[in-house]
Structures are given as C-alpha cells and as structure tokens.
Amino acid sequence: MKIYSFSALVTALVMIAGLFFSSPFVALLKSFTIADGFSALLNRQVMMVVITSLVTALLATGLAAVVGTILGYYFTFHKNAGSRWLKTFFSLPLVLPPSAAGYMLLLAFGRYGLIGAPLYQTFSVQIMFTVSALVLAQFFVVTPLMMQAASSAFQQVPDSLVKASHSLGAGEFTTFIKVLLPLSKPVLLAGAITAFARAIGEFGATMMVAGRLKTIPIMIYVKAMGGDAGVADGLSLLLVLLSFTVLMLVNVIGERH
C-alpha cells in the first residue's frame, strides 16, 4: 500500500514538473506566428545578428576546444599539490555570474584595463566592444566546460594504454596525439558541441563587453523589452531548436561511445 502511495506521489511530482518546464515552451509556441516570425528573422539586421552569433560562437568554441583540451590533459596527468587549486580556479567561470565575468573582462581588457591599457597604448588595439570582445567573453565562459569534458575523456582512457605507449618509445606528445586524442574523440566532440551551444546562448558576459554589437540573446532581450515580440519569438525558437539538436547530438555520440 505504501509503495503504491509513493509511486503515485512520484508520478504526480513528475507531472507537475513537466507542466512547469513545458509552460515556457508552450507559451513561446502560442506567441509565435509563422508569418511574423519568419519575416522578423529574414530582416537584414536580424540576419547579421545571427551570423555574428554563429561566427563568434564558432571561434570561441574552436579556441576553447584547443585550450580546454590542453588544460584537461594537464589536470589529468600532472596531479600535484597545486593542481587542485588551479583546476578549481579554471572552473570558476562555470559558476560565476556571467555579468560578473563580463565586468571582470572589462576591467582586464577595457581601454584602461590591466591588459587592455598597454595593448591600446603600444599597438592601438582595442578589444572591448568589438567582435573580438564577444569571442573573448564566450571563450572565457565555455573553456571550463571543454576542460571538464577533456578531463573526463582522458580519465576514461585506461592507464595501461598510456603506459604501453611510453614503454614502446612514444614520448608524451606522441602519446597525446596517437593514443589519447583518438580514444577521446567522441567525448571531446560532445564537449565541443555543448560548448558551442553554451557560447551561442551566452548573454551576461557578452552583454557587458558587446557595446553596440548584438548577439542572438542580446537581441532577444532588447526586442522583448522593446515589445517587438516577432523577432524575440523567432530568435528564441531558433535557439530552442539549436539547443535541442545539440542535446540530441550529444546523446547520440554518448550512446555510440
């Protein structure tokens, strides 16, 4: 009797949670009209925003894939007293409020910032409020994701394979290229796809460094606040579809792996 009661309680909670989580999606679909949505998306300005988002997210993901993989490798195979602290430090952007991350990037790379000032004074290079700033902000936020994916990928490679490689005369670099990377490919790919989805959806940090530039999330915010539901609906649906596809891809890769 008690078991049945518990089962009924769980079912009820699942239904309530389902209602709660589906309500924003239902609301979006209810608000979205095909005619308005498509005409808004085909607008030149909106198209530019989509392209900017895709390009910056791809660049940030590419950079994060390289740097995150190297960091993941380092923290998997070079464990020492300090590495735990260092790994926690590199993971900070995962839990840091994105607006704080953006603000700190401003402090570091702004025209009067720690690195930004000498860059501007020496090379007349300004990073903030350019496309580079968008890439930088997205890179800052998604690199820890990639690092974690790489760490878990390398940990899954049996220790004896790495030892076998070394005993056969391969140094660390050859072992990394010939053994670790090929065996970690599916998890690294899933990590990169997740990082891309996170980068394209990044709002807080990007908003702080974007200036007049806009990405999809910034555009949604601006249009929603300005009462332009057509563009906000269209772009939101685009992100929902993109996120869904990404999750499906990650699941498929996970199952195959």
Partner: protein, 381 residues
Amino acid sequence: MSLELNEVSLEIDRELILDRVSLKLPAGQSLVVLGNSGAGKSKLLEVIAGLIRNQYGRIAFRNRELTPLPPQERGVGFVFQDYALFPHMNAGENILFGLNARKASSAEKSKWLKAVTEELRIDHLLERFPAELSGGQQQRVALARSMVLRPEVLLLDEPLSALDAASRERLALLIKRIQKKYKVTMIYVTHDHNEARFMGDQVLVLEAGKVVQIGSPEVIFARPGSRFVAHFTATRNIFPGRIVDQYDDRRALVEFPGGRLISASFPEAGAEVWVCLRPEHLALVSSETAAGELTGNVGKEPAGANQLNGYRINQFIPQGGVTVLVELEKEGARLMVFSSSRKVEQKELVVGSEVKLAVAASHVHCLPRQPDDIYCQPYIS
C-alpha cells in the same frame, strides 16, 4: 653484464611500495617475481621500465645507468596483464606503433614485422582490431609489439592470468621459447607457482615490497626460506615440530604432530621448527617399501625410518588430468599428497582407508620457528 637493481625503493602517497629491492639478473636469463596481490610486483616492473620513478636506489643494465632515463630510452619492453592493445588500431598498427614512434625506415618496419609475426604465428591477423581477437591472440600481438623493438630487457606483468588454461599453456611455451631464442633478459611477474617453476631461471619472492627470497626454482620450492615462501610456493604441508636428535651434520630426526621423520635440511638440534613437506615429494607406499629406496635420501636410513603411518584418506580433490590431491588425516593432523587419478578410479585408494607415506630425507625441509609463530593447518588451493 646483468640487470642490476640496487636498494630500489618506491614510495607512493607516503606508503612504501618497494623496500630496498636489490637483485642481479645475468643478461639473457629469466627471473620470475612471485608474490601476493599488492606485494609490489607490478610496481617493480613499472619502476624498471621507467613508467614510475623510484625515489631511491639505482637500476642498471649492462653497466648502463637506467635510473635517470625516460621509458623510451631504456630499451625495455613491457607486456601488460590486460594486453593494453590500442583499440583504435589494428593488430599490424599496434605492432608497428613502437617502430613508428622511433621513426624506423619502411624497410626496417616490414622486415621486423614479418619476422616477429611469423614467429608468433599472427601474420594472418594483422588487419584485425583488438576487439576481433581472442585473449590469446591479443596477448601474442602484445608480445609481438614489444619484441619487434628487439628489447634487451622484457618485462611481463602476469601475461597469462586472463587466459583460459589451454591458451595459457601454449603461450607459456611460446614465451619461454622466444626468451631463450633471442636471449632476452626477462622479468616475469605471476602469482602462479606452476608458472614460476616453468618460466624462471631464478625466482624472487616479494612480500609487502620486500625481497624475502631469491634463488633457483629448485631451491625456492624445495628449500623455502620462510613460512611465507613455503605457503606461497604451495608447500601445503607445514607442521610445527622440533629437532629431537641429530645423527650427523647431514641428518636429524624431527618430530611433529603427524609423526617423526629424518630430515636432511634442518637448523641446529633441539630447535623448534616448521616441517615443510611438499605433496609431490610424499609417496603413498605399500608396507614393504623401505624409505631408503626413495631417491634423494641421504645415507642409509633404516627401513621404514622415513615413513608416516596411520593416516586415513579424508577426500580426493581432482587436479585436472591424471592427478588427484589426496587429503589425509591422523589425529587432527592433515596432510596433502598427490596421487594418480587411476588409483582412485580403480579403487586402490578409497576414502576412509588407512595408508602409509614415505618421503626422502632431503625432502623433509625444516625451517626455524619462533615460539610465538601461529600454527597453520595445511591448506587447499
């Protein structure tokens, strides 16, 4: 000209894994390392291969200091228990991995690939991936992967433990043949005493990171230096006893709960001892057989002097094939002895019947015993 380890110690997370391990293995010989799980056997191999750096001591081969060298510069081959084949490469690519890492020429690669794969009879498997190979085939590929680099020292970490009995026998013969043919200096880790006997020119017994005995298999198995070694080499019959009389410097009479025997391997008279009797050295005899007729006896013991009487058969434990282990008992003392399965099948030996045993004095091995050593009954494994 040998592989030398001098006072090699290894500490991991403040735990002493290897404790001042020293050994000297002549080049071209094989050493089997025997020990329990966690004794440090695998770590010893990894230290020699350079996969783990030892904090103390030195390792040298043919007077070349190996201690500071990375694994790739040591000229040491390693065969792993789980084969450690790269799953994303086929057998051929696995075998060539080391030669590719060393940037060997194509001619050299094809020459050694052909030679080694023909030798190991795996030349028809080169296109297959590890997942498509049986355990025995995978271990052959792993062996080929090491041998293709013509290592001067080959380390094998329980290479047969994951295989079925038939594959194990075949591969053991193959490894021994290859080791002798190429005169490779080999260290072979196992916890199987039969493998140790077969594979090693020398046997080293490791206990909690320490070398407790090293010597030829004959010495280690017939004259274990401690009760641990006796147990580990499947002596099976170990009794607490006492040297009650000494006839001369080669013979003494030892008394133990199961009887009295003449021993040719004993400490001083009056000593408290562990009496070690290997099951294969005990013979079930008819009443007419005299102990002196047994080979290996020293001197002319009187007829019946090295016989044990009054034991009854408790049970038979099949050992596979033609051998059976017979458990005997007399007044609470239990003894294990090998016999042929045929005798059991033909009812020459039946449970409950009384039997007589004989053993050569040279096979009655007595170890010094401390008064607080705990008595252990013979065990079955």
